[in-house]
Symmetry: C2
Subunit: 108 residues, 2 copies
């Protein structure tokens, strides 16, 4: 299979899982950190920062775009990437509330 069942789960659960899944690769964590380390868009040199080929990095960027965490604006021959502020703060809110929901109910 390899196919994730979504029927029977809430939209919030499915969305949260999709967000977490997008963060579930070191390269994508590194990309987000690199984008944030520059104050602004990053045109070009993302590939040079990662130990992966250009096509692989492009795939990871695509996944981050699909989940909405980053945007890419075409700037001449290259593309400028940056974190999508709105999506990011929404993600932060959701994760924070998940942690709040799960806090303080431990037993063992």
């Amino acid at each position: 299979m390899g196919l994730t069942k979504t029927e029977g789960f809430t939209k919030a659960q499915v969305d949260m899982a999709a967000l977490a899944k997008a963060l579930g690769h070191p390269a994508r964590i590194a990309i987000l950190q690199f984008l944030a380390s520059r104050k602004g868009c990053v045109c070009g040199d993302i590939v040079n920062e990662l130990p992966l080929s250009q096509s692989t990095v492009s795939q990871h960027l695509k996944e981050l775009k699909n989940v909405g965490l980053i945007k890419g604006d075409i700037e001449g021959p290259s593309v400028c990437y940056c974190i999508d502020e709105k999506a990011w703060s929404k993600a932060q809110k959701n994760i924070t509330s998940l942690f709040k929901e799960l806090a303080g109910n431990m037993c063992c």
Copy 2:
């Protein structure tokens, strides 16, 4: 391939990605929420709460255990699961600091 490259990334990045990956399935989100909704361990009826077969749920529980987020104590014929408080608060700290690191540096 399907094999995630970890050389060239920091341990923090790899660990964060592993945590996120563990959260990257609706069933595993649902399991954590269900464990937290009960104040204490949950013996038994996790399977009944999910639209998945017993063996599939067992697999998801195993993944959550592998990343350390939950513990399972054998209690007679059944097993009591609960969130591992230490691992969970560490995860929370790491995610929070990731968000802090990435906040306020947007541009577009």
